[in-house]
Symmetry: C2
């Protein structure tokens, strides 16, 4: 049914090899006489020829396709899927297709009904977006078949691209210091108890805060509350933390909801925002408000991370050696939640 190079060859009256070279032989030197090439291109166009990627893949050994592996549970996945356009564009430059695979954790246990991605050879490389409970079958696949893979939003020494939460923590804190604040707190509510299973950002944002404080000769004032279920107790907890004479004049919070809790606590203590309490945080959106002033946030560079991962994967697919990981910088999105201390 579909038009093949043989069809075109017959039509034009040359061998199919010549057609192949003219239409798909990307090499610079034109391999056929310009006249022949013209006729071949014309015929191909008229007959509606499209390369059969399967056949080409068999010859070349390259599928020219990479898989995007999303977790069905972790929320960064939805962030990534919001940036398909950027990802598609980055891959398209290298003539790579993008196939999406949303792997539910449970499916990977029973060896019987593995998803096709693991069962068949369908991609040349993998962009992985699993931070928690990464399916072991994935690792096996990568090891066993030497499948090039790059992880997004995971912090290891090699083959990772991740938001630079450490320096974002430093920058956010320094911003407050530069404004003149001295008593600066760090607020974070953490789901779950074991430190181990947390996303690296939980540690890094706080660590960045610590480093900035110590570098400025200031004393860190960290309120990290970990509990299985926090519910709506966060405001109450924040209130207890803030209810003292030497309370901070400014705080860094792990994320936007924590900033909201702190602001509500502050208001309930009779404080005025932002005069009595400056607040900064980290988020993937700007313009957040919580009844108080627009929040100053450092933006999680999701798009840059995703595209950076795509580019690293392209490189990984050329050279067979691991790539050094890349930390992608945050950018500050100023709001009105920060003012110098009184």
């Amino acid at each position: 049914m579909a038009v093949t190079i043989t069809d075109i060859a017959r039509e034009v009256g040359v061998s199919f090899q010549v057609v192949s070279k003219v239409l798909n032989g990307g090499k610079s030197g034109s391999q056929a006489s310009e006249k022949t090439a013209q006729r071949i291109r014309e015929a191909a166009d008229r007959m509606g020829y499209r390369v059969n990627t399967a056949a080409r893949a068999m010859s070349t050994g390259k599928l020219r396709s990479v898989g995007l592996v999303l977790s069905s549970e972790y929320s960064f996945s939805s962030l990534v899927s919001g940036h398909l356009q950027g990802l598609y564009g980055a891959l398209e430059k290298h003539n790579l297709q993008l196939s999406v695979h949303v792997l539910p954790d449970k499916r990977l246990v029973s060896d019987d009904e593995l998803p096709r991605l693991l069962r068949e050879h369908t991609v040349d490389g993998l962009l992985i977006n699993y931070t928690h409970r990464r399916p072991p079958a994935l690792d096996q696949l990568i090891d066993k078949h030497h499948l090039p893979a790059v992880q997004m939003n995971v912090k290891s020494a090699s083959d990772c691209v991740y938001p630079d939460d450490l320096n974002a923590g430093v920058a956010a804190t320094r911003h407050l210091i530069d404004m003149g604040h001295r008593r600066i707190g760090y607020l974070s509510f953490i789901w779950g108890s074991t430190k181990q299973q947390h996303h690296y950002s939980v540690h890094d944002r706080c660590e960045g805060y610590r480093q900035a404080m110590l570098a400025a000769g200031l004393e860190p004032d960290v309120f990290e509350y970990a509990q299985e279920a926090l519910g709506s107790k966060t405001v109450e907890l924040a209130r207890e933390w803030l209810d003292r004479p030497d309370r901070p004049t400014a705080i860094v919070t792990y994320c936007y909801p924590h900033a909201v809790s702190a602001e509500m606590a502050a208001i309930s203590l009779g404080m005025t925002l932002p005069d009595d309490l400056s607040v900064v945080s980290f988020d993937d959106q700007k313009g957040h408000q919580a009844g108080g002033p627009t929040l100053t946030v450092w933006m999680i560079p999701v798009r840059e991370t995703v595209i950076g991962a795509a580019e690293m994967l392209v490189q990984r697919m050329k050279q067979n050696a691991p790539c050094d990981s890349i930390a992608v910088p945050f950018v500050c999105e100023p709001g009105e939640s920060c003012v110098p201390p009184r």
Copy 2:
């Protein structure tokens, strides 16, 4: 490098054909002795065999892959990408891969640098998400190559799956009628001027409203304001519409932002919500508020539309005949913005 059925055949001491049947020949009747099959499966597992999809595709003529075509400009695309998981699941049942293609309009003009999707034969079918300015090259592709394709969120007679805006309009209006309202208005601000280029929902929601009103023997009261740039004049316009003695006691609005405008206008007229004005609308999110009560909305069935399109495409790929289009029903998400008239 990769393990092939020939490798396994050599290892086990049988011909590669037997291996092919045992590993990939899905037919029910076991084609080989159970003992041989066991040894083959064991070897395949141990050696890490994965089918080469390119080779299989060449033999079978089927890529087992469908393309999701997203517009880089129209916003329904981002809704769709939020439902990749559902789409992936629906396709996986039929052993189909999902490749994503975000086509920017301008790229499709120059014939030279066509995206791979159009230049090469890489998918068995297409899920199309273009409501405006659908690239002509796409249609040519579909016609010329008889590529099965289903459109999402477009209302034509065949091969479409779309949210049932007409009946949603009816349902929303009837909801107000059933509550006892008699003077019910319809509010819609429309970007752009020409009726032609609007999404079908602009017409259908209003038409549904009309039908419900007429069926109940009530007089439609439609305020449709079309203008190139509306800016923040919407509140003012809504206010003018509502500022009269016989104003509606309830309104249906085209979308959430229009409901907000109406509510703000109502408040500025000294009205109380929802007592003086019940409001219903349509949205893809629930729980929306606009300073007033939580909005009662009919939810755009994005997920169901996307999955329905996937299933229609599967069918389309079997039989070569067009499928009757499917209108997917909205579901009501009750808020507190509707009360019986005073």
